[in-house]
Every structure is written in structure tokens, then in C-alpha cells.
């Protein structure tokens, strides 16, 4: 893998900020886009733009075919059994809101007879982990609050490793839904999701995997994982913003009611009643983001053209090197030291506020994220106001890790 060649495909990386070369280490927030993705979306608007489905004319049929081809590509990429198990959404957050709205809740009350969860005992309990992003917490929290249920939280240890025994004990309380981050956006922990899903099923729960932070870094096989749902965002895996996906097993998607109404999601409509389209269109109300879906397909092809194993090893080397070199800084404390980790390093330095550190190293051209990373309960768990998070993508280099370490060292000296 020639990183310099790869970097040429990401023009945004080749620029200076405050007169210093940009070192972009905020990839967990969003990755940059390769030229092929940018050109694919541009090409769509230059030559193919059209509203899809039901148009009889040439352009509409071409756009529809391209859009449905993109769906096939996503299905293949995560090894879904059926193409219709892929629903395009705006991203992870929308996918999770779709689930927390349609998994049996109607008009704020449980409508048991129509619910895909009707075989479960009520009241509703949803089990999450202590390391979830707000997007995999708040929708479930609001869902259980709407129906007088309960949110259960599986704890983690001081290294940011999930307590599997406690997780299993909580499963014994009978949650109907279990939602888990594949990779923590704050700690970098890779959760043992396959084992967690197996346990969830053993205790009769549906398993939802938040793949926002894993799709770009790890191979995903939803059939091997045997998850009931898997959600992800395109923009965190080199695709455009505004596109993402929800994978769901056919049996569940069939039982779930629609999320939003209007447009392509209907079958027949009268003033009295409406019947709904088949999967996956039932969940795609309104005009979808076709251009971004095509960009997502191209991003997947971009990843598939690389040796994924090599990419993973390269990214792991960046994390390992960053941890080793940052360790030399006095007062360094890593937040998240799981043996299985991916993509990022989160830290604080004794006596220095993450905001101060981030502000100073920004002036040295280093883009990191500071704050709570949309995971406030994680910060509370570790008793800190926030962290500095450096997150990596396949185009980052060991030289950039050195720039980060130098910048942090210099900033720490200024701030002490």
C-alpha cells in the first residue's frame, strides 16, 4: 500500500492551515473523500440527475438502476443475505431513530398486536453499553421513556473494556432490544459484538450493532455476526455526507411499520387508506439522496480495491505508535486502553484542559477533536470534562503521528 499515492486521491489533505501543513486527525468525526467519490457524485449531477423509481423516461430509469446497483454493492460489502435488507438513510443517527420509532412503538404506546416485539414480555427494556455515542443512547432512552420502560446499561472497566459478565447478568433481566457500539467513538474499544449478539439471542433479545466507527476500519459480515440490525454512516467511510444505511433481517423489516410516510414508500393510496410498498422501499419515504448513494458505492469500491488487511495493519500501527510516543509526555493519561482497539487514541494531560490543548495544536496545523465526543456519560464515568481525540484514516502517516506528538508536547509545555 503506497500511502503517498493514496494521499494524492485526497486533495483536501494537500493544504496549509495557519501556514502549516494540515495534519487531519479527526477522521472519527468524518473522513475525507477520495477524488473518485467526488467525481462520481459530480458525474451524477452532470449527466444522470433524475428522480428515481416510476419515471418511464430514459434518465429516470438509468438513475433508478444506478441507485439500486448501489444498494446491491452495500449488501455485498457487508454480506447481507438479500439486497432488500439494505435501507438507505441519512446515516447512523437516522437509522437508529428509525429503529427506536418502529420497533413496536405507535402513538407513544405499545401496540402489542402489531409489534415485531409482540412475543416478548413487557414492559420494554433496552440494554445498551456504557460507551455508547449519544445517537445510540438518546433514541432508546426516549423510546423507553415514551412507554414507561427501562434503559439498562452494561458497565465497562477503567480500561474501557465492556464487562461481559455484567452484560450477561443484565440480559437475564429480559431486555427485548440490545444496542451496542461495534467500535467506541471515544475510547476506540472494539467490542466483542459477535459474542454479545450470541448472548443477546440466547436470552431472547434483538441485537442492534452501531457500525459508525467500524465500517471504515474492519471487515463487516452481518450474516457471520448474526446481528438483527446493523447501522452505519457513509461519511465516516470516505463517502459523501447525507447517506448511510440500515441493514435488517428480512423477518424484522417485514414486521416493522413504516418510519416516515409519502413518496415511494406507498403501494396504493386512497383518502381512506394506504397500503405500503415492499422492502426496502417501505422505509424510504421521499426523494432519496441518489448522488450520495452512488458516491457511497464508489467509496466501497475504493476500499475493496485496497488490501483491507493491510489497511487495518497500517491503521493499527498508527494507533500503536501514537500511544507509544505520547506516553513520554508528563502527566499523559489515555482514556480507553482496551487490548482490542481501532482507529483512535483519546487522552488527557494532568492539569491541562482538553480545550486548551486542542486550541494550541490547531495553530500548529493539527486537527483533532476535543470535548465529550457526543458521549457525555463516558466522560462522567472517567470523571473528566472531555478528552483530546486523534482519530486515524488509511491516508494518515507515521510522520503525521510525529507532528501530533511534537505539537502536543509543545502545547503541554506552554500550558503548564
Amino acid at each position: 500500500m503506497d500511502i503517498n499515492e493514496i494521499r494524492k486521491q485526497f486533495p483536501v489533505l494537500d493544504q496549509q492551515v495557519y501556514g502549516k501543513p494540515l495534519v487531519y486527525l479527526d477522521n472519527a468525526a468524518t473522513t475525507q473523500k477520495p477524488l473518485c467519490v467526488i467525481e462520481r457524485e459530480r458525474d451524477y449531477y452532470l449527466h444522470e440527475n433524475c428522480n428515481i423509481h416510476r419515471g418511464v423516461h430514459y434518465l429516470s430509469q438509468m438513475a433508478t438502476e444506478a441507485y439500486e446497483h448501489a444498494r446491491q454493492t452495500v449488501a455485498r460489502f457487508i454480506n447481507a443475505k438479500e439486497t432488500h435488507e439494505i435501507v438507505f438513510t441519512r446515516g447512523t443517527t437516522e437509522s437508529l431513530n428509525l429503529l427506536a420509532t418502529t420497533l413496536g412503538v405507535e402513538s407513544g404506546k405499545w401496540k402489542v398486536e402489531n409489534s415485531p416485539l409482540s412475543t416478548f414480555h413487557f414492559p420494554l427494556k433496552v440494554l445498551i453499553t456504557a460507551m455508547e455515542h449519544h445517537s445510540n443512547l438518546v433514541p432508546w432512552q426516549q423510546m423507553v421513556q415514551r412507554c414507561g420502560g427501562q434503559l439498562l446499561v452494561a458497565p465497562m472497566d477503567d480500561n474501557g473494556v465492556l464487562d461481559l459478565q455484567a452484560y450477561e447478568d443484565l440480559l437475564k433481566q429480559g431486555p427485548q432490544i440490545v444496542a451496542m457500539a461495534h467500535v467506541s467513538n471515544t475510547l476506540g474499544t472494539v467490542n466483542p459484538v459477535k459474542e454479545m449478539i450470541r448472548l443477546a439471542h440466547q436470552y431472547g433479545a434483538i441485537a442492534v450493532v452501531d457500525g459508525a466507527q467500524s465500517m471504515a476500519h474492519l471487515p463487516i459480515d452481518v450474516q457471520d455476526l448474526d446481528c438483527d440490525f446493523f447501522v452505519f454512516s457513509g461519511h465516516k467511510m470516505y463517502a459523501p455526507m447525507g447517506i448511510g444505511g440500515l441493514y435488517g433481517k428480512t423477518e424484522w423489516l417485514e414486521k416493522m411499520p413504516p418510519y416516515q410516510f409519502g413518496g415511494e414508500m406507498v403501494d396504493t393510496v386512497s383518502f381512506e387508506r394506504t397500503t405500503f410498498n415492499k422492502l426496502p422501499f417501505k422505509f424510504e419515504a421521499g426523494t432519496p439522496n441518489v448522488g450520495a448513494a452512488l458516491g457511497l458505492e464508489t467509496a466501497i469500491q475504493f476500499l475493496e480495491n485496497l488490501d483491507r488487511k493491510e489497511v487495518e495493519e497500517h491503521e493499527n500501527l498508527l494507533v500503536k505508535t501514537a500511544v507509544e510516543k505520547l506516553s513520554a509526555i508528563e502527566g499523559m493519561r489515555f482514556i480507553g486502553q482496551a487490548p482490542e482497539r481501532s482507529g483512535l487514541v483519546s487522552f488527557i494531560i494532568d492539569g491541562i484542559h482538553p480545550y486548551d490543548l486542542g486550541t494550541i495544536i490547531d495553530k500548529m496545523g493539527v486537527a483533532v477533536r476535543t470535548g465529550h465526543h457526543c458521549a457525555e456519560p463516558v466522560m462522567t464515568r472517567f470523571g473528566i470534562p472531555g478528552t483530546v481525540r486523534a482519530s486515524f484514516a488509511l491516508y494518515n502517516t507515521l510522520e503525521e503521528v510525529d507532528v501530533l506528538v511534537k505539537a502536543v508536547t509543545r502545547a503541554a509545555n506552554m500550558l503548564r
Partner: protein
């Protein structure tokens, strides 16, 4: 005056260390300014018709920024504070911090000072 960003931030950091610290009794949520990634507490009192501010923050750059504002506004009458010309912020290179989307909350701090002046003007 502040040619180099390093000097500018080094100065803000030094100023942060000299900020007149808010009395412990006011270091609570009631005096917390929203809109900052770091926490900032600000208190104001009127003495002989003039306002005196004290503040604190858990981030030292933020504390430097609020102290800079305190240096400008403390000891002024509420009317003078409300009528102040804010263009000095551009001149000292803090303009980039003035955007409402900046997470340091300079705008929120200024607004809170103006609210104090408004409340204390009679």
C-alpha cells in the same frame, strides 16, 4: 502587538493565571456561562456606580480571554459598558474567536457582561 500566534496565546495563558478569581460562593451553575466547551463562571457587582467583574474557567485560554474582557470592562459604568465600541477585539487578533460557532464562548461571555450591565444600570 501580537504578531505571532504563539506570543498571543502565551499572553492569553499568562493573563489567565492573573484573572481576578470569582468568590467560591458564586462558582456554581447559576453563574455558569453556557456556550463554551470549557466551563466559565462570571460574577459582577456594582460599587460606586461602577461594575467589577470576577470570573473563573477550567480552561486557561478561556480564562485569559475572559480576563482580557474584564480588564476592558471592569471599573466602568453600566452605561459605558453598554455603549462600548467592540472593534478592539479585531485589532488584538481575537476576531476569529468572535464567530458564534466558536466553542470558546467569547460571544457568550460578552453577552453575559452586557446582560449584567443592563441589569445593574439603574
Amino acid at each position: 502587538m501580537f504578531d505571532d500566534w504563539m506570543d498571543r496565546y502565551a499572553m492569553l495563558i499568562e493573563m489567565g493565571k492573573e484573572c481576578p478569581i470569582i468568590d467560591e460562593q458564586y462558582r456554581n451553575d447559576q453563574y455558569l456561562i453556557n456556550g463554551c466547551q470549557s466551563r466559565v463562571w462570571l460574577h459582577a457587582e456594582l460599587k460606586d456606580g461602577k461594575i467589577y467583574f470576577t470570573a473563573d474557567s477550567d480552561a486557561v485560554i478561556t480564562k485569559g480571554i475572559i480576563y482580557l474582557l474584564i480588564k476592558v470592562f471592569s471599573g466602568q459604568t453600566p452605561q459605558d459598558i453598554l455603549a462600548a465600541d467592540l472593534s478592539f477585539l479585531d485589532k488584538i487578533g481575537l476576531k476569529e474567536h468572535l464567530s458564534p460557532t466558536r466553542s470558546n464562548g467569547l460571544v457568550s461571555m460578552l453577552k453575559q457582561m452586557m446582560l449584567y450591565a443592563e441589569a445593574l444600570k439603574n
